[in-house]
């Protein structure tokens, strides 16, 4: 039997055919910095990285295949488990694809709720990333600060959706249930709190001289490379690639709100860091514009009990916290999809890691990998 140990041994062997002075180390599948079961085989010369090979598949659950045997209502729940930090956006992308096929118009109230939930999720996801990023660089305290604010969002989610992480709140035609009566007030309170806390974040981490030295000029990704590796989301925007789906192909209530697409041009780890921190502030702006104007009306469009998509191919994309998530459904006209493919942002972003980390120190690898904001279940699916 081909065991996992053998797999790691073989991977190590195939990478070690260089000079004798090379040191091959396995970062992962169990390692504090990979935040999941990512396995990197690194060839080192001293402390300098000569070669880096990501090995994937440790948490592959064949979600795409599973979706083929589930109905159009059911398969959305599985997708919460892909990028579990932006579960709302995953669900929304799938719901939007099904709506596209059914040609259902989503009620205005549901559109507002969807965008509000997505932006709250984006803040929660970036918060977690911010804490984990600082922890990758050896500062533990920010992690707790980030979780303090994230907890508030989780409580808001829990009240309305009934779950904290895998919400399964978006359904074809709208959202599952109406907002909790205290939702608006709690979100406003959170926004007030968060605005003061985000300055605290800057004081604690962003302005720290050690942190800036660790991040600036590290893991450089040029604009051309970002495009050719297919990077999306904050990773691409830090290299100056305008790639915000919310701006380019506005969906749901994003057409109605004013916000800036955050762009940086330096393309190093610090740029990726600033993009995410600034994106949190933009999300706050979006929430502020929508929270007082949620229209009354239905929260769900009338749909049939059993959904059947017409024969054909349907594709939608949304901007998750990590980048562009594409959902591609091939329908044969039945009650289940014939084929589903997810274009996950993490996979393309990870592919640029070797290019960015080559020639740098091991410490820089953590600074680079942290800013990619990898969620391994999203990459392996």
């Amino acid at each position: 039997m081909y065991t996992e140990t053998q797999l790691i041994k073989d991977a190590t062997k195939s990478s070690s055919n260089g000079a004798d002075s090379d040191l091959v180390i396995n970062v992962g599948p169990q390692h504090p910095a990979t935040h999941g079961v990512l396995h990197l085989v690194i060839t080192l010369n001293g402390e300098t990285i000569k070669k880096l090979e990501p090995h994937l598949g440790y948490i592959h659950r064949s979600i795409e295949k599973m979706c083929e045997s589930l109905s159009y209502r059911q398969f959305i729940y599985v997708t919460s488990r892909m990028d579990y930090l932006s579960a709302h956006m995953n669900n929304m992308a799938c719901a939007m694809t099904v709506e596209k096929g059914l040609q259902v118009e989503v009620p205005a109230r549901a559109q507002y709720i969807r965008v509000l939930m997505s932006e709250l999720t984006r803040i929660a996801s970036h918060e977690l990333w911010w804490g984990a990023m600082a922890m990758d660089l050896g500062a533990f305290t920010p992690f707790f600060y980030a979780f303090r604010e994230r907890e508030t969002i989780n409580e808001i989610m829990e009240e309305t959706c009934g779950a904290r992480l895998t919400m399964n709140y978006m359904v074809p035609g709208g959202v599952m249930v109406d907002l909790h009566p205290t939702f608006q007030q709690k979100v406003k309170e959170f926004i007030q709190l968060f605005k003061s806390k985000i300055d605290e974040y800057d004081e604690l981490v962003t302005d720290n001289i050690i942190f800036q030295n660790r991040m600036k000029g590290v893991g450089y990704l040029s604009k051309e490379d970002a495009i050719s590796y297919g990077c999306t989301g904050p990773v691409a925007r830090a290299s100056g690639v305008s790639s915000d789906i919310r701006k380019i192909y506005p969906y749901e209530a994003y057409k109605l709100v004013q916000f800036d697409e955050v762009l940086e041009t330096t393309g190093d780890s610090f740029a990726r860091y600033t993009v995410r921190v600034r994106e949190m502030k933009e999300s706050v702006k979006i929430i502020e514009q929508l929270i007082d104007n949620i229209p009354e009306g239905d929260y769900q469009a009338k749909t049939k009990a059993v959904l059947k998509l017409p024969k054909g191919e349907f594709y939608t994309r949304v901007e998750t916290a990590r980048g562009e998530l594409g959902v591609y459904i091939v329908s044969e006209g039945g009650t289940t999809p014939y084929r589903i493919k997810f274009r996950s942002p993490g996979f393309s972003n990870l592919s640029a890691l070797e290019h960015m980390a080559k020639g740098s120190k091991i410490g820089d690898l953590m600074a680079t990998m942290g800013t990619l904001d990898l969620v391994i279940p999203d990459i392996d699916r």
Binding site: I25, M135, T141, I210
Partner: protein, 358 residues
């Protein structure tokens, strides 16, 4: 002034009256060993608890609060667990060196304890080259760490040990030079002489800017020498999992862990002795009343308060700063700290010769 000298003298008198001189020496050695080991255990446990409480305070948590009153026996329970665990040696490891390394680190930490004055007249060995002895012995601990990293037969351990070697050897220089500043000013290497020279004011107040600079450099170098964040590259959890002690478990790991905290205590004790006057109470010029009140506080309390203040400072660093990269760490030492401390030593020498200090 409150002093423990009476106690130590009466014990010695009693021993001399009861036993022959040879036996007295052996009994005294035994007592010192017993005291040092128990001090070690208590200090280690107290410091680990303190670190956890400080960390919790900074991270909006409560910290240990279940075992005993305010969680005071948490570290004791943890140590008991570690003692009872299997002393595991990995298959590919060099068994002899692997098992020796934690003891080397521990013994070195114990040896540095000798010249430290815990209170007035309460000192194990008042050697006349105290400061030199401390800086010489403290650089030995790198041998234990290199030994552990090499013998583990683990690539992470080896990388951690390599980093640690480069780091400790480098920072030894500026730590030594900043200690020399005080030696130059007080004119002696003996710890008691240095403390007595601060009777009319601690060096941090008397020595003008050079001593302040020396103190800042000393704190940085001390943090680096004890492998503490932001200089914890030898462990570097997110990079090297646990660095040089990745393969250690049970009591052997606990020895490394305790040695780290004892080392913190020792460097802070030395800092307190040299810069803050050791057990000397805080006096202000001619305020006789105030000075008398300060004299009533026992000298051991003064020593421990100063030491724990410095320990708190070092813990504060750890829970605030991110880690440096290995080349930035060495740049900091060789390009900034070393030239500054060399120039600073020169300045201190001029001040000492001209008698410009208070």
């Amino acid at each position: 002034m409150f002093s423990l000298q009476g106690l130590t003298n009466s014990i010695q008198d009693w021993l001399n009256a009861t036993f022959s001189p040879g036996w007295v020496l052996i009994i005294q050695c035994g007592m010192v060993i017993l005291l040092a080991i128990s001090l070690f255990a208590v200090l280690g446990l107290a410091l680990v608890l303190m670190e956890r409480k400080v960390a919790a305070r900074m991270q909006i948590r409560l910290g240990p609060n279940r075992v005993g009153p305010m969680g005071m026996f948490q570290t004791t329970a943890d140590t008991l667990k570690l003692v009872l665990k299997e002393g595991f040696t990995p298959d590919g490891a060099d068994k002899f060196l692997f098992n020796l390394a934690p003891f080397v680190v521990m013994i070195v930490a114990m040896l540095i304890l000798a010249p430290i004055a815990f209170a007035k007249g309460f000192q194990i060995w008042d050697i006349n080259i105290g400061v030199l002895y401390v800086s010489a012995v403290s650089s030995l601990s790198v041998i234990g760490i290199l030994m552990a990293g090499w013998a583990s037969n683990n690539k992470y351990s080896l990388l951690g040990a390599m980093r640690s070697g480069a780091q400790i050897v480098s920072y030894e220089l500026s730590a030594g030079l900043s200690l020399l500043t005080i030696v130059v000013l007080s004119g002696s290497l003996q710890v008691t002489d240095i403390i007595n020279s601060q009777q009319n004011g601690w060096w941090i107040f008397k020595g003008h800017i050079p001593v302040l600079i020396a103190f800042v450099i000393f704190i940085i170098a001390a943090t680096a020498e004890t492998n503490r964040a932001p200089f914890d590259l030898a462990e570097a959890e997110s990079e090297l999992t646990a660095g040089f002690h990745t393969e250690y478990a049970g009591m052997k790991f606990a020895l490394f862990f305790l040695a780290e905290y004892i080392n913190i205590f020792i460097v802070c004790a030395i800092g307190a002795t040299l810069f803050f006057g050791g057990w000397m109470p805080f006096h202000i010029g001619n305020w006789q009343q105030f000075n008398h009140i300060m004299d009533y506080i026992p000298s051991s309390v003064w020593f421990f308060v100063k030491t724990f203040f410095l320990i708190f400072l070092i813990m504060w660093f750890r829970w605030t700063f991110p880690r440096l990269r290995v080349d930035q760490l060495l740049n900091l030492e060789w390009k900034y700290l070393l030239p500054i401390s060399l120039f600073n030593l020169l300045l201190a020498t001029v001040i000492a010769i001209m008698g410009w200090h208070f």
